[in-house]
């Protein structure tokens, strides 16, 4: 194959570089691979699935490529192994963008069987690269059509979350300022110096918020809006943790009472409150919300297609969907799945969140980012 020829050529190039630098080293090319890794038992991986009555025991272990965020709740997948006897090995591939790009680079020799955890802003890139194979699960009928953006089911929508501006309730009360209700208000003098956002070039919620402004003000008006935010002293930081834990007045003790975060953040503030509390200290500016739908897909080249399909069926079932809010802080794709009380009491699911056509995002991402950088940072 041409590919392997190129590999050999590369190795040769490397070695000739070395040969020039180091005498007498031309015959120890291969004895240097370290010994096989010490076999360790990954806690997430299954050893012996508990046998239940119905599923046929299986020796198959599926490799799931996911983003780093999901890897912290990999234990949710134990139930799948218990139900089906199919093991899951999880590979963490960085943030959503890195993960998708890695999957594209390894097309033809995929990293795993299933990929999960990319949102609509990366959807087109996945579809254009044709790295997944179609599967329409019987359970897919529960997915609201406006979220299943790929009619051919090359990928399947499995959960969603909204990126919204969060506000610190006590700050607005203490300072006698009205909580803003629209994006347009944020460029008024009253809200000068109150907002912190993430850089869309390095942060997924940062990008989502930029897309919300594009959706709200149109491709002609969004940069003017950002100029207004700049004039109103918007703070830009590199990532969510910095925005939330240093600049935001509620969680970080910082000076800014408005932060780009998630619709699920207020319930999380109750669930992980210290000391426990009955109401959320923060709220959500509904008009700012941008919808991120997360997708799953079967990677082309898998040798376990049937098992991978089983995983997607299971992913859409309540066995996982009902667990998502309290563990992964996203909303179940199935509107009939019961939500935990905190998610009913302390946040909203906007009826009409901002969205931007994934194809448009794919086409303009780089140009939008460049324009944004020029307007906001230069």
């Amino acid at each position: 194959m041409g590919c392997s020829m190129r590999r050999i050529a590369l190795i040769l190039v490397c070695f000739s570089l070395l040969a020039a630098s180091c005498s007498d080293d031309d015959d120890q090319t291969t004895n240097t691979t370290p010994d096989d890794p010490v076999e360790t038992d990954d806690p997430v991986e299954t050893d012996d699935p508990v046998e239940t009555d119905d599923p046929a025991p299986s020796d198959v272990t599926l490799t799931l490529v996911s983003n780093d965020a999901f890897s912290s709740v990999a234990y949710l997948l134990d139930a799948f192994t218990t139900d089906t006897g199919i093991g899951i090995e999880l590979l963490a591939g960085g943030d959503a963008g890195s993960m998708v790009n890695q999957a594209i680079l390894t097309k033809g020799n995929p990293l795993g069987d299933v990929i999960y955890g990319f949102d609509n802003s990366f959807l087109s890139r996945v579809l254009d690269a044709e790295i997944t194979i179609p599967y329409e699960s019987p359970g897919a009928s529960v997915i609201p059509p406006e979220m299943q953006l790929d009619a051919d089911y090359n990928v399947t929508a499995v959960d969603f979350g909204d990126v919204c501006i969060n506000y610190d309730k006590s700050w607005f009360e203490d300072n006698g300022v009205a909580v803003p209700e629209t994006l347009a208000q944020l460029i008024e003098p009253e809200y000068d110096g109150l907002l912190v956002v993430e850089n869309p070039a390095t942060s997924s919620p940062g990008l989502a918020f930029v897309l919300a402004t594009i959706s709200q003000f149109g491709e002609d008006g969004w940069l003017d809006y950002w100029q207004g935010l700049v004039d109103n002293d918007v703070e830009v930081v590199s990532g969510w943790d910095e925005a939330y834990y240093t600049s935001f007045s509620w969680a970080g003790g910082g000076p800014r009472p408005l932060v780009v975060s998630y619709a699920s953040s207020p319930p999380a503030e109750v669930i992980y409150a210290d000391p426990p509390r009955d109401d959320a200290p923060t709220g959500v500016l509904v008009e700012s919300c941008f919808r991120q739908v997360e997708y799953i897909g079967i990677l082309d080249g898998t040798e376990h297609e049937a098992e991978a399909q089983q995983l997607i069926d299971w992913w859409l079932s309540d066995a996982l969907q009902a667990e998502l809010p309290l563990n992964y802080f996203v909303f179940p794709i199935n509107p009939d799945t019961a939500l935990p009380q905190e998610f009913i009491d302390f946040t909203v699911v906007p009826d009409d969140p901002h969205t931007v056509d994934p194809a448009l995002i794919a086409e303009n991402r780089e140009a939008w980012l460049d324009d944004w950088t020029t307007t906001v940072l230069r």
Binding site: S21, C22, D24, Q28, T33, L91, G94, S98
Partner: protein
């Protein structure tokens, strides 16, 4: 005739020996660095089977990218200079004066090296960010970046330079003083030239670290400040623009290579053999008021530089809803109460220690062999080899990570889903430390010692064992300690490598910090303090080992 045959056979044996020593380091660096990096650059530069120079031209001519390259270069140079200026007196004090708490201090200065940038970022912003407790907002200014780079790299200078300084024969400088040189003149004309190899070694590591700085610049530099590393990450991981990313990576590599070549030439010219003394002959208690003041001033400075930011973390880890308490630490121990962790801290600690051990052993083995080659060899070839071994420090982590992905993907080399890939990546980062710590020491072993031993009838192996090994072993121990520390805190490079889902301490801290909720933040801080404590203990252990060994040369 017989003589000539023997000579030839000796030369042949020497070559075989060199080849045997070179095999492991050369193989390692080829498989885990050159080949992956070459693969990803090839993919970028030769997209459809033919070389496309357009992106490289664009990168070289675009003013925006030139601005980024220039900023990368000068902030790295400034960081290196600042670190050297600040840390040299510290290296002197820690290597020359005995005082209570010295080994503790020497162990503690290494702690910053292992702290994840997110955690350091939070500490620095709490001090000197918007609304920070120092009352100045330095965020977005170059000063906060420089301060953080000094904070991170202080230990590199202390260890590398102090390691040699503490063994310089004090009589050389004393002789200069007796001959009428002033204190400053004696330092400039006698001590400084002798220290140059170590200073060069430290400077090159600090430079490379700052040159490829990612998290510090992102977090503290404020929006709009970018290094080449940040831009390569953006082009690769976000935009999948491999041609531009490859072009940038080539520019970065070229810059690093130029710096390394200059350094290695310079180093070669300056290295002299020294009569190294046991540190017990060098160290003494500060006696005059001037010496006491010097020690005190440096201790206070170190305390301020290191313990103020670390103190912020400790304080935050202890701050709970009802005042100061250990609630967050108790929560760590009871993961059942909080599903986010999903892994007990003991498990994360075990994973971290396991990887640190593997990485330290690998780095010591490979680095030790490489350092011998570079340290004993004097040819142009070894200079090149030396620079080559430093390259991983100066290469963007995302380039290496994506290179791993597309090159180490078949047969026995398909390590993408193997845990070993994590300590292997750590080894790559730690190798330059081990080598840079060991080479100056090896080079300064006085050959007359060896000659004397040989004259007295010792064979080459025995000479090496009796003369070199005791000295080299200690340098190796320091290097291995460094490698373990690097591995414990490594998070940056490994995030760009597809890897099995194994929770280590930094990974767990990162997970906690990516969730809202006061409890999660508190636990992240508590976990950071645990990481600090573990590293401090390891370094203390290394210190102890070293101290117990003093006097063997």
């Amino acid at each position: 005739m017989a003589n000539r045959t023997q000579l030839r056979s000796n030369r042949w044996r020497k070559r075989v020996g060199v080849a045997a020593i070179a095999a492991l380091p050369v193989g390692f660096i080829t498989i885990f660095f050159l080949y992956p990096v070459a693969s990803i650059l090839w993919r970028g530069m030769v997209p459809d089977g033919s070389f496309d120079p357009a992106p490289l031209k664009r990168v070289l001519t675009q003013p925006e990218l030139r601005r980024i390259a220039w900023f990368t270069l000068w902030q790295a140079a400034a960081s290196t200079l600042a670190t050297l200026v600040v840390a040299m007196p510290g290296a002197y004090v820690l290597s020359h004066y005995k005082f209570r708490g010295r080994s503790l201090l020497r162990a503690a200065v290494t702690i910053p090296l292992i702290l994840p940038t997110v955690v350091v970022g939070i500490a620095f912003l709490a001090l000197a960010g918007p609304g920070g407790s120092l009352g100045v907002d330095l965020k977005g200014s170059i000063w906060l970046i420089l301060l953080a780079h000094v904070f991170y790299n202080y230990a590199v200078v202390i260890r590398t330079v102090g390691g040699l300084w503490g063994h310089l024969d004090p009589r050389i400088e004393q002789a200069a003083r007796v001959l009428g040189a002033g204190r400053i003149q004696a330092f400039r004309q006698v001590t400084l030239p002798l220290l140059r190899p170590a200073i060069g070694a430290a400077a090159s590591i600090v430079f490379l670290f700052s040159f490829t700085s990612f998290g510090v610049v992102l977090l503290l530099g404020g929006a709009g400040r970018e290094t080449l590393e940040v831009e390569i990450f953006r082009q690769t991981a976000q935009l999948l623009n491999l041609p531009v990313a490859a072009s940038l990576a080539i520019v970065q590599l070229a810059g690093v290579f130029v710096v390394l070549t200059i350094y290695s030439r310079y180093q070669e010219r300056r290295t002299v053999e020294l009569n190294l003394r046991p540190s017990s002959e060098v160290e003494r208690k500060p006696s005059t008021p001037g010496e006491k003041r010097l020690v005190l001033a440096n201790v206070v400075f170190m305390a301020a530089l290191l313990f103020v930011p670390l103190g912020v973390l400790v304080k935050r880890s202890l701050t709970t809803s009802d005042g100061i308490g250990l609630a967050h630490y108790r929560a760590l121990n009871n993961p059942g109460s909080n599903s986010i962790l999903a892994v007990s801290p003991t498990e994360a600690l075990t994973n971290s220690l396991k990887f640190a051990l593997i990485a330290a052993l690998l780095a010591l083995l490979i680095g030790g062999l490489a350092a011998s080659l570079v340290g004993y060899g004097r040819s142009r070839a070894t200079q090149w080899f030396d620079s080559l071994l430093m390259l991983p420090l100066g290469t963007s982590a995302v380039t290496v990570g994506f290179g791993f992905l597309i090159s180490l993907d078949r047969g026995i080399l398909d390590l993408r889903s193997k845990e070993i890939i994590i300590p292997l990546a750590h080894t790559l980062v730690a190798l330059p430390f081990v080598i840079r710590v060991m080479v100056p020491i090896i080079r300064s072993i006085d050959p007359r010692l060896r000659e004397a031993a040989a004259t007295l009838g010792a064979g080459p192996v025995r000479v090496w064992r009796e003369i070199d090994l005791p000295i080299v072993a200690k340098a190796g121990l320091v290097g291995a300690g460094f490698a373990a520390a690097v591995s414990l805190g490594e998070f940056g490079a490994t995030t760009f490598i597809v890897r099995p889902n194994v929770a280590t301490l930094p990974v767990t801290i990162f997970r906690l910090l990516s969730r809202p909720g006061a409890a999660n933040f508190g636990m992240a801080m508590a976990m950071s303090v645990v990481l600090m404590a573990v590293t401090g203990l390891i370094m203390l252990f290394v210190e102890h080992f070293r101290a117990g060994d003093v006097g063997s040369f």
